[in-house]
Symmetry: C2
Subunit: 460 residues, 2 copies
């Protein structure tokens, strides 16, 4: 437990009403989407950047560990106080959209703003913030930046890092750092924003984010390709994209997911569908949308698509997307617990990668339903086990490790969008050599010599 | 001079034919586009990554300073051995396009590849590498990445950092670092590529670059807007972009540049043109190109354009672009030496920024013709002085310093695309506070504790 004097001193900084160390709060802030639990010793709600700076100075001096937290919706433990200390929760006060600059197509937000709230605010004025992680309804932009969140629209529009123009952040020594500008070009000094993005709260505490916005495309249509096999669908992914298609999204579901959708949710899908691709295309003019659909259909047909469906109305589009939206909840028919990973490989490796991932699953006797963002090479791989069977769980983890080894061997990455946190920290050695891991440590030390910021994450 | 034993030892690593310390070579490698001169003590041509690693280990041990160099075409001294030591020149051996991966839309290149050579190679197979610095005919991709080069197409397509998917680089201790992947999403570990980009060779030596490619748009047309004043042109820039236009480029020339083009080069332009905007629009379908032109024309007319011209053929397009291509050489009519800076401000600040920049010039009695990449807020500001008049030169530098102060006050940056190097190092204190400068130093120290890599740059 945090010494009582520290509680009093923190209360002095942020006010009594913004420091909690009662059991209920400690439990409430011990979770994220991993379902692992680490209780903090206190939860502190900073009111503004100045509070953050003063808290960091205090904690740095007393070597009290700090875990910054947005919504706690991460899949890898990034927001969990793995080594105790305080949770610095941004949701209560630092949750405002500060500005939508229509003239420069920029939004300035505090880290606790929920992704969807920004999306709605900018769409109301005809603009567009593309990054749409599956958690968009509740995850915060501070968390999105810290984990470099992806989403479905990454195939065309890229990921969070592609939209961060500037950050304000506080170093453990209390220094307030302004990184980047509200300009497209800025090459003065090191790209500090670039290294803070995806650093999982281990380098600095983000206090303000300046995000690039786009004009909202006028037309969107959805498409679905029904393929006889996973392999034909996977071939269609990279072949359609290299043929010049640029869909907003290209989401994949394999045969196991298709079966599960039919069995568990009664969703109508063709009997013999061995793989689905679902996505959107968009454009400023309807002819661009038509061009995209034609390019996709041509490539899909060359790769054996059984049926190519286009949704013209909003209702038809919602209906097409039902399958994708229910992919994750449906697959529990294969096991009570899913060990879900979000590997990413170069798109042309998808057919081979999926084949070999299924083969690994077969060797362990596990079903491994796969779905996800094929258009950018990022697949959610779900090793389904009986969560109550310790042996199965352990075998499941070995199965995952083999999958990671395969993916890295194929030029892919441990994580496309979920991050490393605590969950994937044990696997860092598969992806990085000793020199690379040492460089991570050296950078961590440069920002945070006392190792107070989110220690124990990313294998640091 | 480098001790003879070091020359012998370096020759042992890369071969006698790849180490030079004769006067002719030392002079040849003492220049860049700044025209400042710093002679190295030796020039070394590594054959491959392994050479780079061995050279760095050797030099790190003996504390011999190293300046990596591409074409030496930079405007801020980034490739100059400001403190002596050796120049590590990539042009001779490490200049190959290693792969154009049509399936994943990726190119893998060595740092010494010339930008235009890559552009041509990928366009030959229907692909597109957008970053096009004015030096594209001779600057290298290693230099482009090290300075985070921009160019004309940044308005729509972004800058070099938006295309770097992965790097290989060598730390001063010889460790070979692989940063990033050939995947759109990769969030495992710190974004090392992100911090090496724009670091001007001060953190690591880049040995391989993986770049994102795009399908080449099918249609391109050029437009020109002739405005009565700089202010109306500057208003048209941000108003057309916030109205949804997304031109490839939107280049600006002010009235001084227009007059110079007419007087010096006899280029036909309207008599009373007070500002020009020239650019391209592109698309996969001709209707998208038409949509872009309509959106531009509407906004331009709302801001008082006198004439809006569209070039439909390649010949017409080349003719429209003549004015922009000759902007830089034309303005010498205002002074024998131009002190050219590449400031960048949020686009909506352009009208006010230009007005105040001219006012500063007036106070000093200098003409300050401006042109450049208005579509992304990046303007080349040229303080024209008599290069043989020491007093004028000194006043010119004070004038530049005032302009920097103004730009930073308006939320802009010292450099949009040229970098800091030695040329702008004295002005870093205007843009960054003590804590920010300290962070730069801490990061430098983390990568390069002996400070052997390109010392004296960026104010470090």
């Amino acid at each position: 437990m945090l010494d009582a004097k520290h509680i009093v001193n923190l209360e002095e900084i942020v006010g009594k009403e913004n420091v909690y160390s009662d059991k209920a709060h400690l439990i409430a802030y011990s979770y994220d989407a991993t379902r692992t639990r680490f209780e903090p010793e206190a939860v502190v709600f900073p009111r503004h950047e100045e509070d953050v700076s003063r808290i960091l100075v205090y904690c740095n001096h007393h070597k009290i560990m700090i875990t910054p937290r947005g919504a706690g919706s991460g899949f890898t433990g990034g927001a969990l106080p793995a080594n105790g200390g305080i949770v610095l929760a941004m949701e209560k006060h630092m949750n405002q959209v500060l500005e939508i600059d229509m003239q420069n197509l920029v939004a300035v937000v505090q880290p606790g703003v929920i992704n969807m709230d920004l999306q709605k605010a900018v769409e109301a004025v005809g603009l567009f913030y593309p990054p749409d992680p599956a958690s968009e309804q509740y995850s915060t932009l501070g968390g999105n930046v810290s984990e470099n969140a992806g989403g479905m629209r990454a195939a065309k529009y890229g990921i969070t890092k592609d939209y961060v123009m500037a950050l304000r952040a506080v170093r453990p020594n209390g220094d307030i750092i302004r990184a980047g500008k509200r300009t497209i070009k800025d090459v003065a000094g090191y790209n500090i924003a670039g290294i803070i993005i995806a650093s999982e709260g281990t380098l600095a505490v983000i206090t303000e984010i300046t995000l690039k916005l786009l004009p909202k495309p006028k037309y969107v249509k959805a498409y679905m390709g029904i393929f006889p096999s996973v392999e034909s669908a996977m071939n269609a992914v990279f072949k359609s994209l290299s043929a010049g298609a640029n869909p907003v999204a290209m989401e994949f579901m394999d045969d196991l997911v298709v079966q599960a959708l039919k069995i568990k949710l009664g969703i109508e899908l063709p009997k013999d569908a061995g793989g689905l691709l679902i996505g959107d295309v968009d454009g400023n003019v309807i002819e661009e949308v038509a061009f995209q659909l034609e390019t996709l259909e041509r490539s899909f047909r060359e790769n054996g698509v059984q049926d190519f469906i286009v949704a013209h109305t909003k209702e038809e589009r919602d209906k097409l997307w039902i399958a994708r939206r229910n992919a994750s909840p449906s697959i529990t028919i294969y096991g009570s617990k899913k060990l879900n990973e979000d590997i990413s490989v170069p798109r042309s490796m998808l057919p081979e990668a999926l084949k070999r991932i299924y083969a690994i699953g077969d060797r362990y006797g596990f079903k491994v339903p796969c779905f996800g963002h094929a258009g950018d090479g990022n697949i959610h791989v779900n090793v389904m086990v009986d969560g109550k069977d310790a042996k199965q769980l352990e075998a499941g983890h070995r199965c995952i490790e083999e999958i990671f080894e395969l993916v890295v061997e194929m030029g892919g990455t441990l994580s496309g969008e979920h991050g490393i946190g605590t969950a994937k920290a044990p696997f860092m050695h598969i992806a990085f050599n000793a020199g690379e891991l040492q460089l991570f440590k050296d950078i961590k030390m440069a920002f945070d010599p006392n190792n107070i910021l989110n220690p124990g994450k990313m294998g640091l």
